[in-house]
Chain length 305, copies 4
């Protein structure tokens, strides 16, 4: 990701100094109607509090007329806490009609992983979590099958078995929601979870639930995409990580990848080839999200890498 | 492509000898219901005529129950001519209900290129043609615009300007068909030709007209795919070469390729990025086809590379 | 992989019948000087024993003048056992000076995994092993560090801790070799094993030890390849799976893959990006090898996919 | 490329206004030791002259301790001309020990293309030039062979035939340099030019001569890289665009790309596959350079895309 500086950071300290600054780190993300003075207002706000901008990225979307910004900064020791920053920034935010958050980087993002009977993405995420490749907390794994109880146990992550039937669906979603609230979940990851979430739950989780779809969307929506791909005779197959939305497989796309196949690769082999693509694509999307690099832009995403 | 030999070729001559065999070369392509003895019958037919199998590829599709074969062989000097081979092979062909052709490799495939106002694919194909990268004849270029008359003239390829209006469409297609017949065209290449062919013409050209679609089909059918891709916010864009069919953009896919993009790439830049993908994908598809490597398998293709 | 049939298989049974044949399955791999009648001799040998060729691939290398073949076949119930096949085929083999093996597909390949302090490849292989993505036995994991004892234990694979110092190196290699012999190891996988094997051990393991090198060989041989790549400023980084040879990082290449990076990606991030490439490349190479798809061609490989 | 704004641009006008600003456009590129206040100084300099920052990218390299910046801005109508900007900016530049240039975007970059007997890159560049895909001037093509005189003539670009022998080499380089000076060449493109430039000429052209090397550097330096790649048995081949340096094939890398191959692809086919990679890689590098997106960082490049 590009390292950027602004006048004000330069005025105070060089970035290398900032890098080694002992103070707490924060990441401010915002989007608002594009207009004059946004970056100035933000930079001034930070400078007045002796906060150092470590890097900053901006993007103005001519289409939507929206402006997006991600700024990583460090506060001085004994400087403002997040509550103060939130309180004081809200004035600027309301002036520019911003959708915004200030994230304390000391607080790891808390993930809940949903899975069913295909465990490759679960295993991949747990390994990255275990080895620090993914710097998050995983306080809960929820599945409608018992298959991965032992895997969860070995990684010492609480495993919740919530079987789902048409009758119990909403009631189990209620339990799921309870876990989300009790565990203060920041992000729900559908790691090949084979149940469709209710529109209501989708709305509640908007922008904080990522699904891996085993096709190169918008191709092959819905069930058995690899079989659809085989039937259509495509020469490349892919996977797509997107935010969950009430419209199935229509949520904002975060990341995609593809792999070449030919006429000799049957549906089962496509599934096997696809697993590796799904692992990488989902892991990237979760990393981007938990580093606050993904901003929603209507039905699309801005990904500051 | 894998080099393969069969018993019978081995019985007669080693492949390296065969390689340097002075006799005429042929390529037999066939598809038929999968059953016992197909390869044996073919190999026997060739052996009895002292024909050397240079390489051979087979594929049995469990789904369609069809068997596909491509065999390249050389006939002895003073051996059977194509007419005799055709006549004598037809007996075997009918026994196995084969769709088949014996191609004389000395006869270059004859291409007609259709184009409109985007000339990158035309230029790319003409360059490969000129430098032998594409070993074909191009006796005609047809366009509904005059833009590339000079380019065609410089490459010394006859240029036919056939303007198309809703009123003149069928009449111009009649002229196009006349050229196809007069010039004994083997393959019609739609190099960003911005007119939809009539269902009738599509049927007449079935399996011998290749279109380059500027999207990763089946995503973004129809018009302005790059704008559709931009609106959907996909992270990879692609191009697809497929046989023309009466159902727009539904024909059998021959080749596809993709390229990574991000949120900052606007529709116009997507178009520019796409050009390079379109060039490569169309060039590959035309090469595969003119080397008789592509066999139709219902709505799909078998590509023996 | 292409499905191929030969006359003789066709003479006996159609491949679909062969597919469902209840008899034992074997895979014959061979290489020998290219000459007349190899495939015929093999096919005749099998036909005389009512063995069904399920698929077959051949390749003749004009450079080395060597011929390579991989034929998968099923023997009839109550037909010849492997010992008889071996005994009777040896006559043909010696006639053609073949390097050859007949593999009983019922016998899973036995892997020994060597690792050190980077466990991503180990974890990836164990997961594929556990879920059947990799159809092998893993009777032993050997490491010069204790880090992955628990991971091995959870997967219920015996873990051997063999610390290595300049003094103990050969003695520990002797123990390693003991394990190879006791466990009848077919393939040794160096999954980021950070010790160089002695020339003597390399020779003993020739063609049955696969190493994953974390660079796009032949670039960046030796230590810290990602740092070398960073210093050189390459725009793509890669990984290479190759057979171990006495010349470090010079063994025959089995598989390679790359990923795009830019000037902002530091050495540590390159290492992280590289992990995903290493996992996929090593897993592919191990799969190809254990399916007997990889044949040695001097310093290169023939991979029948 | 990310659109970025700074405080000062925000203070004056919104970027969309800036976009449609009627004044002349400039691009400032600079590199200097990383320290406090660089961006501030630049932004202040521009603001004092009512110049609008349209977009801006920065990168601080922890390794080299150098800071890199590219800022695109528009001056007001009747505002400062380039000479004034240059004169007045030099004070800041010297204070920060900057290597810098202010480019007037109205002045197209002037290219001299060097080629020999392989014309695919030449043809590709000329086509992009003709169709505006590459917004440059090409006042001269120089070749040590006559092969592409007609191609040059058709594109109406002066063609200079400078045959090179060991005896005439330096004398011909003198003529080449004459053309560079007479035609005020900004960038020399070695489009498969098969002559090694003398160290002296390399120094003179440092940072303004781009070569396409037909391998994935640093692999396979020097002659016949595709044959080297074939001999080594790599599974991916590539191409590299780099600045020319006195050390052959050691110059800073601008762009690279690869394509998959297998054991059946012989040296000649590798050459053919490579052509498409070379076209795309060289075209990207030339585009980045002529848009002033490439900055030298010792033996490496910073590419602001």
């Amino acid at each position: 990701m590009l390292e950027r500086k602004t006048e004000l950071s330069s005025l105070t300290e060089p970035p290398k100094a900032a890098m080694s600054s002992p103070g707490p780190r924060f990441i401010l993300t915002l989007s608002c109607p594009d207009t004059v003075g946004i970056v100035f207002a933000v930079a001034a706000f930070l400078a007045q509090r002796d906060c150092n901008i470590i890097d900053s990225a901006q993007y103005g979307d001519r289409d939507s007329g929206l402006f997006f910004m991600r700024t990583s900064f460090s506060a001085p020791v004994g400087g403002p806490a997040q509550v103060e920053l939130d309180a004081e920034f809200s004035e600027i935010a309301s002036r520019f009609q911003m959708a915004w958050t200030i994230h304390d980087t000391a607080k790891r993002q808390r993930l809940l992983i949903l899975t069913s009977k295909f465990g490759h993405c679960l295993n991949d995420l747990l390994y990255r979590y275990r080895t620090g490749g993914l710097d998050v907390e995983i306080p809960a794994i929820v599945s409608n099958h018992r298959d991965f109880y032992q895997l969860a146990a070995w990684h010492n992550v609480p495993f919740h078995y919530l079987a789902v039937t048409p009758e119990t669906k909403l009631q189990q979603e209620a339990k799921l929601w309870e876990i989300v609230e009790d565990e203060k979940i920041d992000l729900v990851v559908l790691a090949r979870y084979m149940q469709v979430l209710s529109p209501n739950l989708c709305r509640r989780l908007e922008g904080r639930a990522i699904n891996i779809h085993h096709s190169f969307l918008p191709s092959f929506r819905g069930a058995k995409p690899y079989h659809q791909a085989f039937t259509r005779g495509v020469k490349l197959i892919g996977a797509t990580a997107h935010y969950v939305s009430a419209e199935l497989d229509e949520g904002p796309i975060i990341e995609q990848e593809v792999e070449r196949v030919d006429h000799t690769v049957g549906p089962e082999e496509l599934v096997a080839v696809g697993r590796d693509i799904e692992n990488v694509v989902l892991a990237r999307a979760v990393k981007y999200h938990t580093e606050h690099r993904v901003l929603l832009n209507g039905g699309k995403t801005v990904v500051f890498r």
